[in-house]
């Protein structure tokens, strides 16, 4: 599995046992955006990156594109060797952090090494959640959970490249033609997108009454369901796996909550991710589900910052703090963290959830808060639905500002809406146009339109 650009070599630059100016846990979206920003402001400081994984670089959201065969292992990186060299980054692969002393400012890794730092960024991302499920046919506990699921052949999580390689090999070795996915959220759907692309049927099992519960409503979900069912695939809503059946160490099937029994040779558990904070001792940093950060990505400990999937940061729409685990925000947070670590003053500004997924040729983009009861709390909902063409567009408005959007099929101007949400533009003057199928810049409020059309281009 060695790739052309020597994906597995450490590039040590600094001696061990010296105090590192900038130490970064995590070699992914947030960690590398931070490293790049630090280097912009500080040309000489030492930057060291620790990762528990064995690849110099890969893009996590691309692992499903690796599964579908769109990219191979040589193309799955989002930063090349040159990036690490140009920014003089010392990357330590296979170096997992075990504990941090936030007062004395050092950390200990699994291999027993000690790293002292002046500034630390925690960008350790997320870990897959594996619910406890009754298992029939195991020799041991009678349950599948996070500690033992990988002992049963055919059961996988899918949150890193190692997982994807295993799944891919398993599909090929066993000629898998049908895959069950527990969880119809971001990861479950991106996995489904890849399998469907390969001509493999999927059964998606989802606890909520719709797929992509975070940003879809019933209508949007319905369009996708209909399409899936018209091929060999299916979605089971309001449902979950109650019992997993195992024979000779392999999954053979499962029973759903509604009693239906299913055959299954490959199950992907994709019910979500939790911030990866196992190496942080309780009480050392303010934490809820993730590490709590302020608008400058500072944690509660001096000189320690955090960014990406591991944090609970400012949520633009609710105004509170939330863990929003998506790539664009990991990059934005990492950038802000890096600039601030190197002495700059950069506000993060908050974010909101968004997702783009294309299933069986139906693209969709959804963002913000979308599943609201209209009559409650002064939400306004504008909709356009064309059932013949499976076109759907829904815009949710509160206090004359857009707070959520769903687009199915006609997605190309989606970004205009994210701009309107981000900039909190008052759209009351153009409400009648906002959910038009041909919606464009020309329909925007005059001032904002002028800003976009004759302005310099945005400076975020």
């Amino acid at each position: 599995m060695k790739s052309k650009n020597d994906n597995r070599k450490n590039n040590k630059m600094f001696k061990d046992n010296e105090t590192i100016d900038y130490l970064i846990i995590g070699n992914s979206a947030a960690g590398l955006a931070a490293a790049e920003s630090i280097r912009e402001l500080d040309k000489s400081g030492e930057i060291m990156i620790l990762t528990g994984e064995n690849y110099l670089n890969y893009s996590k959201p691309m692992i499903t594109y690796f599964l579908s065969g769109t990219v191979n292992l040589d193309m799955i990186h989002f930063k090349d060797d040159k990036f690490y060299k140009d920014n003089r980054l010392d990357v330590r692969l296979n170096t997992r952090v075990k504990s941090i002393d936030t007062d004395k400012m050092f950390l200990i890794t699994d291999d027993g090494n000690r790293y002292e730092f002046r500034k630390l960024l925690i960008a350790s991302g997320g870990r897959p959640i594996v619910p406890k499920i009754k298992a029939i046919g195991t020799k041991s506990s009678g349950f599948i959970d996070g500690t033992n699921y990988d002992k049963t052949e055919g059961i996988f999580t899918l949150t890193n490249l190692e997982d994807a390689v295993r799944v891919k090999n398993y599909i090929e070795k066993n000629g898998i033609k049908n895959i069950s996915i527990l969880g119809g959220g971001l990861i479950g759907l991106k996995a489904a997108e890849a399998f469907l692309e390969k001509g493999i049927d999927v059964n998606i099992i989802e606890l909520a009454d719709r797929i992509l519960a975070a940003t879809f409503d019933r209508e949007a979900s319905g369009i996708i369901e209909k399409k899936l069912k018209s091929t060999g695939s299916n979605i089971y809503m309001n449902n979950t796996i109650e019992e997993i059946h195992i024979g000779s160490g392999k999954i053979t099937g499962y029973k759903l909550k509604d009693g239906e029994k299913m055959e299954c040779r490959l199950l992907v558990i994709a019910v979500g991710v939790n911030p990866d904070t196992g190496f942080i001792s309780s009480g050392s940093l303010d934490m809820a589900r993730g590490i709590i950060v302020d608008d400058h990505m500072r944690t509660s400990a001096k000189n320690i910052y955090a960014a990406g999937d591991v944090v609970e940061g400012p949520d633009m729409i609710s105004g509170g703090k939330r863990n929003i685990a998506i790539w664009p925000l990991a990059v934005r947070q990492g950038t802000a963290a890096g600039l601030n670590m190197a002495g700059g003053n950069k506000k993060y500004g908050g974010g909101f959830f968004m997702n783009s997924v294309e299933l069986l040729g139906i693209p969709s983009i959804s963002m913000g808060i979308t599943n609201v009861a209209e009559e409650k709390e002064g939400f306004e909902v504008l909709k356009y639905l064309n059932t013949n063409q499976d076109m759907y567009r829904k815009v949710i408005i509160k206090n004359n500002r857009i707070i959520g959007v769903i687009l199915v099929n006609n997605i190309e101007r989606a970004g205009i809406y994210s701009g309107l949400i981000r900039n909190e533009i008052d759209i009351s003057s153009v409400k009648e146009n906002i959910s038009r199928e041909d919606f464009g810049i020309i329909h925007l409020p005059a001032d904002y339109k002028k800003h976009l059309v004759v302005g310099e281009g945005i400076e975020v």
């Binding site: 594109y65 989606a414 004759v454 310099e456 281009g457 945005i458």
Partner: protein
């Protein structure tokens, strides 16, 4: 390829909304420029369905303008790109999509506040957007606008001495 920008200030396309007559010549020349044959008749006859214009004319009644990628300074599309395909050149400021790297995830479309990226489905799925005609002296949409509704100039020149339009162009080809 001629080095247009070098280290000098980055030139951008500026939109003069009031001059646009909605003729859509910019779209057509953009399509031809990004066709294989680069010839208008051949491109139209044989390739046009596959080629998306990377400049978009929006129009309601007499009100119209042409808009293409603004090559933003903190480009949201670059930030959102999961593959590293969308990059901003540090020297020229031009934002381009490396079509070999692009996987067609549409993350860039999700965040571009101008809505100027399109889905190219003619081969493998790729994001299609303005590349500022990097090998041309002046982007073809600007060259071919009959009414100077698009101007190509750097920031300082914006108010002063317009360059790169029908009349102000320095290097006529």
């Amino acid at each position: 390829m001629r080095e247009r920008h070098g280290d000098c200030k980055m030139k951008k396309i500026y939109i003069q909304e009031e001059y646009c007559i909605g003729c859509r010549l910019c779209e057509i020349y953009c399509q031809v420029k990004h066709s294989k044959s680069k010839k208008i008749i051949k491109a139209f006859k044989e390739e046009m369905i596959d080629i998306l214009p990377r400049v978009l004319v929006e129009e309601i009644g007499y009100n119209s303008f042409a808009i293409q990628c603004r090559h933003c300074s903190d480009a949201p599309c670059v930030e959102a790109c999961i593959s590293g395909a969308m990059q901003k050149n540090k020297n020229t400021g031009v934002v381009t999509c490396d079509e070999d790297k692009c996987v067609g995830c549409w993350s860039c479309i999700m965040v571009c506040p101008y809505g100027v990226i399109r889905r190219n489905l003619s081969g493998k799925k790729i994001a299609s957007k303005c590349d500022l005609c990097i090998d041309e002296e002046i982007p073809v949409c600007v060259q071919n606008c009959p009414n100077e509704a698009l101007k190509f100039m750097d920031k300082d020149a914006k108010e002063k001495n317009p360059v790169g339009t029908k009349t102000g162009r320095k290097n006529e080809k």
